[in-house]
Symmetry: C2
């Protein structure tokens, strides 16, 4: 039995559309990114990345898996890892947001084409996975720990939610609803009492409940969340914490284990708490995420310190050279932070969204949108080899950006996030519009009382700190505008010339069309020092400029030096320059020794030079290089 | 066709018995450890560890695999990973050295019992592996990258070499010779032109050639060494460097990839170079190992920085909290360093043997010899859970020592090394005896000219620096005695009261029985600072005492503090005390912050206290704790 789709339930045209909480997000039909860095990235995503992913998914056979599933040959011919179906679904989700954003008819037709393949592969009872259940394949749900069947449904459902919110009731939606109904029937009361090794179905089912108004999807999500941490999955080498099955959600203190899993789960937990008005659960999720920000997050917003299990480390275990910082974990952190901002009304979570978008999500794709970092380390010791643009990389820890991976979750995750990016920019609460992210954009919406308002944002942020909000169409009566003041500018921000107290710049008054509000932020480059407990970067400084983390890259160093030859004199002020900053660098010499432990002597007297620092997200775009964010300070 | 076993070829009763090179090692029938730390460890090994391993290998089914292989049921019943056979062989090798050391008849009978199981499982053509080749199993040699078949033979052969050198020609020897002949037939000229993903067969075949005088085993070892690095194994996620198949051995600059693989290979390369008088190859191996010591080795002598692939990191990538430092890599490093000492005559490699024995190999087993560390990190941030002494640990990175692991290579590797330890202590060159390691011991051998000499070493080293060598039975004419001066005592050592220049204390004269030579070493605790390029421990100091690396453990801190609350004032001299040292500690306070990047402020003003440091190898023996070797210096 499928849900009824109505305009009332489907929510705003955005990846997260809570039915409750403090702030109502604006959809991508209400916010348009009109210029600047993100408009460029969105254009590249639409022009290149989405087709790139489609081409590669055809080439490596992941789309053909669905054809073969129908034909009965998939047990012999299937390609890709156990979760390969999910990457096709994520591609379709990216297409769905791109169609919603641009009306692209070719992509619209492609969605239908792919959805028909899914439909043909789907079993009569709604089960859909190309890897399980047929002769010669493992049985359905025989390996919940690693099988990813529910994870794959989750991404199918998220793609379908994008279509529902676009006003569609098409093949994709029907397939996803049948799959979701199958999940409720199979894992509901009296069914299999377990969870998927990779959370994702939880957030998807809450979103589907929101988009359809069907309570049972929410109930099923709650079952999955409440079962988690009760040990229904096997103990493994990495421990049950790997898939957050070690401790019940309500008892956990911090995110742990596989970072993407932990973050997707937390996104679902926040959504569930919001829908059910379960403030205790919301507080738990918030406390876990806040603890993770305080103790387990890299300066870039990246999460995950271990390569072995793609996992969070212990508190303050944040090695820059071995940072995993998977691109998908960046997407997951944006999902959680945005949901917490909406649920709590705390605009500070926009800092996390912004930091992670600029320094993790934007770091992954090459400028042309057809090669990607899977991991995003903060220190690269050795010049890598340029990835072959025609080869699948077997390595997650690729040396330079690669076109595709054996595990290729990141490219499509970037694609869906970029296409839906305008859904993370603004919200409304009563008669007030919140601007969480600053970029040239147009915001046109109705306030809660129905009055319409249109704003235009003009800025060259983050390269300069001036953000001008023009009220293009002013409503009758009072209008509130709230702008997030990033943490690094608190105390130094001005609104129309007046000092702003705290982390939100507020104005509430009657506006005449054409009026402006001007927020001035301090985007001068600045030194940042780590907490003493982050052993791996003791004695180092980083340089940030606004929300951008900067780095030193060997291609900017004199005489073909590598970054281990550089120290920084932090007593000399930084100088801003186009696309970065300049610091006082010192070349460091090292004697060759047979044993690197003794008196620790270093010769830092080899000369001073202008040390050029550039945005971290742009590193690795000028050929093989070494790079570091944290620089030894002298 | 099996080799002829003769007394002429079998070599000294030790794990490495080169046919050439600068120094001739003394066997465990020539060197007896008579007291002190290592005698205790040998006793525990013989009394507890070997039986412990036998019991566990029965319990987890790895011995029964051989029975089932004969019975034809192993495809259905086999337990353990693909290399489980090798752990039974390593156990037998440990038993063989223990029998040679003590004459234990019960163990002697047990070796025969196990060897008969191997014999029954062996195929008529000499093939022997419980995991491959039978109906329902993968085909022989169908997965050289991961199958470990040749690796397993290698350990079988090493066990057999121990028996041959003990003067035996028993079932074990016959099984191993048939297997080795099968390897030569299958992988020799015209055979499979590839190598095993895990090196080990190389060192084993050279040793077998030495012990039997059969050149073809050496030729086969050479084929394997020369093929390595030519890409006969598949590219994998970790790259071919993981199994040293990225670069030919002669072209590589440093050890890389999986540490145990790299070290076992290098041991075989040194052995091969020595037997063939291939000085170029010897120089290559030495240069690679020296570069590894200079840039990729932990202070403890531990090797391997990555958990993901149990591998070396890049140069200077040596995180203390994520150090892998697998116990087996310690064993491999001892094997290589000892071989280089013998081949080159450079006693400084004894420093590496000593450092690694005291701080890696000795760290693994618990005091009672029935629980083990698999990895040996230099920093433990979080108190672990005591391992269940009755459960197999699925985790290599166990929290505390565990009785057995799913991959349980380390316990038997410790066992075979401890049983044969006297084989790493002394050597002869002409009329000179070299003492590489200092412990209460008795050395009784013939000089190259046939004159007999007996020495007794009396010392409480490493807890004090006096080493007295008593010439119990003096030969007629001149005798040379050379004692290694550890690097940390060079310039501060005295021989019979006179300053010693350089790294070797030498005396050559006529001795009268009862004469003594006294070496005095500086074993006061000392501060050690890391090379500036080891980013992970910048700003920290370690404390060493003689060859012992010390550490701070939370159980020695005031008021239930953890080690992240401690800094050390390195301007205050260290004080030696029983079993360690005392430094000037400072308690450090940390404000709770929501984001750990900013001004990096730390409050180090919470008081000074006597910071107790104890030998690293003994950590984790007093219940759950946090621990660190590198301590922030103020």
């Amino acid at each position: 039995m499928s849900a009824m789709l109505t305009k009332d339930t489907r929510g705003v045209l955005a990846p997260a559309s809570p039915g409750a909480g403090r702030l109502r997000p604006l959809g991508i039909d209400e916010v348009t990114i009109t210029g600047g860095f993100w408009a460029w990235r969105q254009a590249v995503n639409g022009d290149a990345t989405i087709d790139h992913c489609d081409t590669w998914e055809q080439r490596v056979g992941w789309i053909d898996n669905f054809v073969a599933a129908r034909a009965g040959t998939v047990a012999q011919t299937r390609t890709g890892r156990e979760f390969a179906d999910s990457d096709v679904y994520k591609l379709v989700e990216a297409m769905a947001w791109e169609v919603a954003r641009t009306g692209d008819e070719r992509l619209d037709a492609r969605i239908e084409e792919l959805a028909r393949l899914f439909e043909l592969a789907q079993e009569p009872d709604g089960y859909l996975n190309t890897r399980y259940g047929r002769p010669g394949q493992p049985a359905r749900y025989s390996d919940l720990a690693w099988g990813h069947e529910l994870y794959c449904y989750g991404h199918l459902v998220q793609a379908a939610v994008a279509r529902i919110r676009s006003g569609r009731d098409d093949t994709l939606v029907r397939v996803a609803l049948r799959a979701a109904d199958h999940v409720c029937g199979t894992f509901g009361p009296g069914g299999i009492e377990s969870v998927c090794g990779h959370p994702e179905i939880e957030v998807a089912l809450v979103e589907l409940a929101r988009a359809t108004g069907e309570r049972r999807y929410l109930d099923q999500a709650r079952l999955f969340v409440e079962r988690r941490g009760t040990g229904t999955l096997p103990d493994i080498e990495f421990g049950r914490g790997y898939y957050q099955d070690d401790v019940p959600v309500r008892e956990a203190q911090v995110l742990r284990g596989h970072a993407v899993r932990a973050l997707y789960l937390t996104a679902g937990v926040v959504d569930l708490a919001v829908e059910d008005g379960d403030d205790e659960l919301l507080d738990v999720a918030r406390a876990q995420f806040d603890a993770t920000l305080a103790r387990r997050t890299y300066l870039t917003g990246g999460m995950g310190s271990h390569h072995q299990d793609e996992a969070f480390g212990e508190d303050f275990e944040l090695p820059p050279d071995r940072s995993y910082c998977e691109t998908c974990a960046g997407v997951g952190a944006v999902m959680v932070a945005w949901r917490l901002a909406l649920a709590t009304g705390d605009l500070a979570y926009g800092d996390v969204v912004e930091r992670t978008l600029f320094n993790v999500v934007a770091t992954s794709p090459a400028a042309d949108g057809t090669a990607f970092f899977y991991t995003n380390p903060l220190h690269k010791r050795v010049r890598g080899q340029e990835a072959d643009r025609d080869e699948v990389s077997p390595r997650a820890m690729s040396q330079l950006r690669a076109p595709w991976f054996e595990v290729s979750c990141c490219p499509t995750n970037v694609a869906r996030t970029m296409a839906a990016l305008a859904g993370y920019v603004a919200s409304v609460d009563g008669d007030t519009v919140q601007l969480h992210q600053f970029m040239p954009s147009r915001v046109s919406t109705a306030l809660d009382d129905g009055r319409r308002v249109t704003l235009e944002v003009e800025t060259s942020y983050p390269f300069a700190g001036e953000v001008v909000v023009r009220v293009v169409d002013a409503p009758e009566g009072e209008l509130g505008i709230e702008l997030r003041v990033p943490s690094w500018s608190i105390g130094a921000a001005r609104l129309d010339g007046n000092p702003v107290v705290g982390g939100v710049a507020r104005v509430r008054r009657r506006f005449v069309s054409g009026d402006t509000v001007r927020l001035s932020l301090a985007t001068d480059p600045r030194f940042t020092r780590p907490d003493d407990r982050i052993d791996a970067v003791r004695g180092c400084v980083a340089v940030e400029q606004g929300p951008l983390v900067l780095c030193v890259e060997s291609v900017d160093l004199p005489a073909d030096r590598d970054v281990d030859a550089v120290a920084l004199d932090a007593s000399v002020p930084l100088v801003a320059m186009e696309g970065g900053a300049v610091a006082s660098g010192r070349l460091v010499g090292h004697a060759e020794v047979g044993w690197p432990y003794g008196d620790g002597g270093t010769d830092a007297g080899q000369g001073t030079f202008a040390l050029r620092l550039r945005p971290y997200h742009a590193w690795g775009n000028r050929g093989p290089s070494t790079m570091r964010v944290w620089i030894p300070a002298i």
